[in-house]
Subunit: 408 residues, 2 copies
């Protein structure tokens, strides 16, 4: 079950002026499951995004990148679940374009003004006819206050829908930021997450919007892992409609910093929600690596811990078998690491120093922390001034169960 | 249960003249479990080895390296299970040296002529008093035909003892090669395995012996993974007693090639046995990456597949959800990989080409192969002439069960 995570009430999710959302049941997933989302944007909205670095990236990722690069103004996003349209070759490209064309026909815009997204099983042909048949219902369903249903429509193995709204005053105007995300397995984003959509009614110039989404991704979705599997379909999109009247034109301005902070806060909540709802997760683990020489070595050590099946199963068992963390630190690939110089903490408990178990460490202290559902592993490297924080979850029977049966 | 793996009969394991083995129950593990092995070598034997690259390497690894480097002739190896003496700081170093001193006293040699090895739980103090108390019984038990019991004495979570003997004629002399290994979890060797010991009665000069063990490790233990966790205690040792009369002095000689081939065959069997006995394994998976530009990129892609929890759980389920393999290939980190150029096979079944599912692929063909207990994944990259082969296993409920409870 998700770790300390609930979906916000529908009323807590604030509409973003200039964005309408409609959902439908297109029959890609089993009957009774919503699997199609259309987000229509008013004219003038700007969109920026970051995408997976997986070389087997999905056809919709390629098409979305193309359409963004054309700069012709994006008028809608379309998301299907149940099928990733990845590992589908040329036919997959045709299917992604056909999806855009079908929606463009309904909305009266160009196909190149549509961004397509897919998530689900890989290497199966996209049922594009079902999507085309489902689009009119999604368009008919479009409303500004539909974020709650939208967050549910993009779920796959997710148990809990992920969403958040925040407001901030910028230049005397109230600016709203609302976001949704999905993801639970195949989570080790590299530039983005499975799928995340954040919209604001601030006006943000295109290059600044790209900078803002990249910075937010680097401090949120690029700091999480469930199983170390980087998806073929990762995408995080940031939409700025400009309807609030607040305008951001300078990366050095107070308004930029304010909005960046809120967008990053929403992105971090959505990213952490994916880990809290990680497949089979029973524990949410924060990994802080402090005192490194650079971010790369901090993240290497952090991900070695986060990806170790031995560490993850020990946390599942609430077993303070913490030598497994030392082993992971040791094989992380930091060649000149002085293991005698580092300190390992579990929450406030000093576990290891001087290359071995701390004299003050008591098994019952480790046991106490291991029984919590939220735990922080802190490694102080004592070789520099750089810190990094990652978030992951444990590895349970249910992870195996879910992934030994998931095909939808 | 181990995948198509049984322990050879005691009679199939041939003594190696110049090596005696004795085992004992020192009480490090729970009562009734043998946990101590002494291998005594006749004077003149040469020993070479490769060790873990884990920065948190165990104290016995450091001491064994030191003693080998001194070149004073190795007279015995001592192995305890139940405790890794890793992550134990300065006390661990003192304990490893004390173990050597205790055995040296019994055998009438110098402590620096003993190589110590430990395997088991990390970050717990070595019960050196129990080991010292158990050594006389191990010494009293020493026999040349004791390889079968020795293979059992070094097991931890292993279900099946791992051992192999081969003979080869070199220069008119019969040369014997006998080896044992242990390992089941925390298996992603990087220079060696958990623990492996191979002995021959050929005479091999020291630098050649080091070359031989390094080559054998690179083609065997360095090609396996169970869970991607590189141990703190990996070691593969090659012993050459010279008692057969066959002498190898030149790396370019026919005798060197013959012995290298047999040592590599034994090492490969022992390494594969560790995967077949991988914690919770139900399937043995051979991963062949062909047509790469260099070995590094072949291994990157191979290990990405081998470490993917999603791929491993799909194999556990016998579910041909093979898009997960494409995703792993895509995120392996080969930045300029042309995914449209590669082909993916499951045994003889062509699964994917041209960036997507092969037109000829039928789900029932994939299903048929997935139901086997031995399966080959073959990726033809079509970008060079280099091949690499790795071996791994699937990921089951039992892996989680074993590692959520293992502390001994």
């Amino acid at each position: 079950m998700p770790v300390n995570l609930t979906t916000p009430a529908a009323g807590e999710l604030l509409p973003v002026a200039g964005v309408s959302l409609g959902i439908a049941e297109a029959g890609i997933k089993r009957p009774g499951r919503k699997d199609l989302l259309v987000m229509q944007l008013d004219e003038g909205a700007r969109v920026a995004g970051v995408f997976t670095t997986n070389r087997f990236c999905a056809a919709p990722v390629t098409v979305a990148r193309e359409h963004l690069a054309q700069g012709g103004g994006i008028r809608a996003l379309v998301v299907n679940t149940g099928n990733a349209n990845a590992g589908t070759g040329e036919q997959g490209m045709r299917d992604a374009r056909a999806t855009c064309a079908a929606l463009a026909g309904l909305l009266g815009c160009k196909a190149s003004q549509i961004l397509p997204f897919s998530t689900g099983v890989i290497m199966e042909p996209l049922p594009v006819d079902k999507i085309a048949a489902g689009l009119p219902a999604a368009v008919a369903n479009m409303r500004a206050d539909n974020w709650f249903d939208a967050a549910h429509a993009i779920m796959t193995t997710d148990i809990v829908a992920k969403a958040m709204s925040k407001q901030v005053q910028i230049g005397g105007k109230t600016v709203t930021v609302t976001g949704i995300s999905k993801g639970s397995g195949m989570i080790h984003p590299n530039m983005a997450t499975m799928l995340g959509y954040i919209a604001t009614d601030a006006a943000v110039a295109q290059p600044l919007l790209q900078q803002m989404v990249s910075e937010a991704a680097n401090r949120s979705f690029n700091c999480i892992t469930v199983d170390g599997d980087t998806s073929t379909n990762d995408a995080l999109m940031l939409i700025a409609t400009g309807k609030s009247g607040a305008e951001i034109t300078d990366a050095g301005s107070a308004g930029y910093a304010q909005l960046q902070a809120v967008v990053t806060e929403v992105a971090t909540h959505l990213a952490q929600a994916i880990v809290r709802d990680g497949e089979g997760a029973t524990k949410f683990i924060t990994i802080k690596i402090e005192g490194g020489r650079d971010e790369a070595e901090c993240k290497k050590i952090g991900y070695a811990i986060a990806h170790s099946p031995l560490v993850k199963t020990a946390f599942f068992a609430s077993d303070p078998n913490l030598g497994r963390i030392l082993a992971a630190i040791g094989y992380a690939g930091v060649g000149d690491l002085d293991v005698a110089a580092l300190k390992l903490y579990l929450d406030d408990v000093l576990v290891a120093e001087n290359g071995g178990r701390a004299a003050s460490y008591q098994e019952e202290d480790g046991q106490r922390v291991m029984k919590q559902s939220d735990i922080t592993i802190r490694v102080v490297l004592n070789r520099g001034a750089v810190n990094a924080t990652l978030w992951t979850c444990d590895f349970s029977y249910d992870y195996v169960k879910i992934n030994a049966s998931y095909r939808s």
